[in-house]
Symmetry: C2
Subunit: 545 residues, 2 copies
């Protein structure tokens, strides 16, 4: 018997493993009639979502799924995709949501590496999914998800998602995890080199990051959330679980079409949506084209790349309140945010946008964040100048990489997660990402941030999109090479762009090559710099001296 109650042990009354499944159970009980899902003509309340997930979990187990085994899914942002974020875990399984823009070989690699036992396949993606399956020696059981709202019928020959829902028992007991450290999801990084890595999430982290989302964004009860962010991206940054917690409504969306987004925002009085800056950029361009104004104010969260200052200002002008966050697949999505400070309200819009473009401070549930020398782990000075790598630790950092002990060791080796992103640390404690380690341009011995050059170019009225990468240079070793997509009908030359740069940045940062083209992007809207780097090296013409 100790004075500090250390002998008092855990029991069923005072300990429950943290799991986002608790949120679904609660919301189905407290708000059974509130709308959970909207998709085309379909509306589904929380009671129905819970019942369907219970049934589906039962069927998955009858299909032979054992606790800890993987269920892969290749799907757009459909109601089924949302439900799978609960149903798979309720069967004790691990959800592996696969990037829908991948080629069959990459999908096959992921299915094999993740040891998927069941593969849920959106009928709209059947062609690529079937090709992937054909590449496997031991393909998983395939389940079709016919998207009837989009007029996409079932692929023949397979059992459908709704068959499983129909076959499962509503009375069956689903599995709450015995250990909150048990895996809930598996997400493959987009890995620009080599094979992708399988990032494992656990129930504890999913629970905490779901709550963190609500706190960081001050969402309040019953948000109406539009799914502009793919759910296969860090499980939609954990928002399916957040929406179960705060009893929100998910407005599903098959494809990011700006006209459709504006329509849904108006029709359902959407309060929140997420997306990479490129998504915001598309909406700004469409708003100008369509002369569209929002009828009510909306909150948008952006991450995945730093939003150019111009994007921040234009979103605000449109009536969208933008929250800038930052994270990686390895951190369950966003874990830092550019938390607004009272005194910012007195800043001029341009100055404020500049500060809002920073990645900011740790969110409520990230334990530690620092910018440090990657070799010594010595934090850099908080002067906005000294560059270092971003390090995090906390409960919303991944469990590790699946079947990749050396990768896991590298990521965690010294008690901090190595993000691979380079940043400076400002005097007010806010971090600002300058580049991915591999995106840094080293020219004549000077470190040049490609982001910084992009930020300047984004302010040019005729520049729609821009990406700057390193290109070998006979004199400087490397030099910046700018790839630019111009706004429609605009006319610029390499000379005019370089002249603009000369007015707006230090001499050594001016791009020595300017290319006008469409920019290649990943499914999550990130510009694929590795392709541009390759393209830059293959250019025939010489860079400027």
């Amino acid at each position: 018997m100790s004075a500090d109650g250390r002998d008092l042990s855990q029991n069923k009354a005072n300990y429950t493993p943290l799991s986002p499944l608790s949120f679904l159970k609660r919301t189905a009980a407290v708000y059974p009639d509130r709308t959970a899902l909207v998709y085309g003509q379909l509306k589904r309340d929380w009671r129905s979502v819970y019942v369907r997930c219970t049934r589906l979990a039962d069927s998955l187990r009858k299909l032979g799924l054992k606790p800890g085994e993987t269920v892969a899914v290749l799907s757009a942002n459909t109601p089924e995709m949302f439900e799978l974020h609960f149903a798979v875990a309720m069967a004790g399984g691990v959800l592996n949501a696969i990037n829908i823009r991948l080629d069959p070989a990459s999908i096959a690699f992921i299915l094999e590496h993740g040891e998927a036992r069941i593969f849920m396949l959106d009928s709209g993606l059947g062609h690529v999914g079937k090709k992937a399956l054909a590449l496997l020696d031991k393909p998983p059981v395939c389940v079709d998800i016919p998207d009837t709202q989009a007029g996409l019928n079932s692929l023949t020959g397979s059992v459908t998602y709704d068959d499983l829902v129909a076959d499962g028992s509503e009375q069956s007991e689903w599995l709450h995890p015995e250990d909150e450290w048990d895996a809930i999801a598996l997400n493959y990084t987009s890995g620009t080199t080599g094979n992708p890595k399988g990032v494992v999430y656990h129930h504890r982290g999913a629970y905490l990051n779901a709550v963190s989302n609500a706190l960081v964004w001050n969402m309040g009860p019953h948000p109406v959330y539009l799914w502009t962010l793919p759910m296969f991206h860090c499980n939609g940054w954990c928002f399916p679980w957040t929406l179960a917690m705060n009893a929100g409504t998910s407005v599903c969306l098959r494809e990011m079409v700006p006209e459709k987004v504006f329509q849904l925002i108006d029709d359902h009085r959407v309060t929140h949506f997420c997306g990479a800056p490129i998504v915001m950029n598309m909406l700004i361009a469409a708003a100008t084209r369509l002369q569209k104004k929002l009828k009510h104010s909306v909150n948008a969260m952006t991450a995945g790349a730093a939003p150019p200052e111009a994007v921040i200002r234009q979103m605000e002008d449109m009536g969208v309140h933008l929250t800038h966050t930052y994270g990686l697949t390895e951190t369950y999505g966003p874990v830092t945010l550019c938390a607004p400070q009272e005194q910012w309200s007195s800043l001029k819009p341009d100055e404020r946008a500049k500060i809002q473009a920073r990645q900011g401070v740790k969110g409520h549930m990230l334990e530690d964040l620092m910018v440090a020398n990657p070799n010594t782990l010595e934090p850099v000075a908080l002067n906005g100048e000294e560059m270092g790598e971003v390090f995090m630790r906390g409960n919303n950092v991944m469990k590790g990489y699946l079947k990749n002990p050396s990768g896991t060791e590298q990521a965690f080796g010294d008690g901090w997660f190595h993000s691979g992103d380079l940043a400076v640390w400002h005097a007010d404690g806010y971090i600002q990402i300058l580049d991915r380690s591999k995106d840094l341009i080293i020219s004549g011995g000077e470190n040049i941030s490609s982001l910084e050059i992009e930020d300047v170019l984004y302010k040019h009225p005729n520049v729609f999109e821009v990406a700057v990468v390193a290109r070998s240079h006979p004199k400087w070793g490397e030099a910046p090479c700018a790839f630019i997509a111009l706004t429609e009908g605009a006319d610029e030359t390499e000379q005019s762009i370089v002249a603009y740069c000369r007015e707006n940045m230090a001499r050594f940062k001016i791009p020595k090559t300017v290319v006008f083209c469409e920019l290649p992007k990943t499914s999550t809207g990130k510009i694929q710099k590795f392709m541009l780097r390759k393209q830059a090296e293959e250019l025939k013409r010489e860079p400027l001296p």
Copy 2:
């Protein structure tokens, strides 16, 4: 190597024991200049609170405090009381905040049973504290907290709180708990019979319930919270930790004086405060007396007893939005809430107040809540009629009772926490407490809820406060006995009250005795029914037949 990543282990990068100390650390870093504490002329920002707590933790350890040892405190709601909620834990200690209305013998019992090593003593409570110390063979080290804002100077002879702050090092490393199951606080129940029980809280529960408070109440960032609720009551329902999480401002308050409360609400634009229904009742009476209207709308949370419908309505009329919650010392304070439903807005005020008087549904972080037969644990029917005991389980249920294995076993024996409260379960899933097990009146074989009778009597225009208890009855075994405090200047008789009851309740529920008097209360504003029960039995006159 397993397919579900089960081999991926915890390390410093991906696991941190949950503790509210993380919230203080974050808020001091992100919002260093925001006001954390206001008290009289004193204003203190989060940076200072963090530095002072770091220093104090260092001094506590220098005083010999070992991890897991108890620091007791007897204090009003002062800034020091707030800081101790962090500083003691940062030294690895367990905070035991003692009820300031207790007599010296009870305080001595608690100091001895809790094995306090250090005793922090508010100078305004020095007389009773010193008397308690004099009763102990081995008194703890005493530290004075002079309340200079209230003009209460230090007691001579002891080291003061500020001495410890001054002596500690700002550079010292404070202790984050190694295990989130480690104790953070010890709170003694008010135990109406026998010795009080020591309820142990752990860091995990304190963290989660702090977050739950913010979610349940939709507090948002930077609330201004007025301390009308004693911090010795379930650690102020965990709100010191909530306010560190959402970077709020605490407006401290030595005594619950309505005039002062209204003044502080106006002066500091208070957004939130808590209190038992009796606190709300005092404010309503004062508002009428002073013809006071609030200049802005304020959120109040009430718990500790069911708020009479009349109180709910009058608070709303005053401009206070009331949230009704329920919990016990054993559940870190409130864990259920009467969550508002959309369709309630179309109800008439009286009907809505009736529904709002229910204790409601589980909060976001309570795992399970049920009303069941205490012997079989069979849930009662959801019909609003069948009575049962309230049971809870989840991470915000206590670790157990200190040095009391049989009490702990009784509370937890069958995997549910036994609340001892009797309730019905309505068809919509909302629970409604009818009584404490021991407050139930069994009259002629019928169960009578004293709360129900009180609710009716509270609607009588001349009734200020009322408590109904069981009194022995020659014919019925027991019968209701009503103790009533009338509004100032009002005139009523037993006959007039009984006549009123005859109009408004079932015959067998009508009190057989009516007594007009002041009602005895605990320091937390709860009416002390055990004293009234004793008084009822000692009455000389016969009850009505």
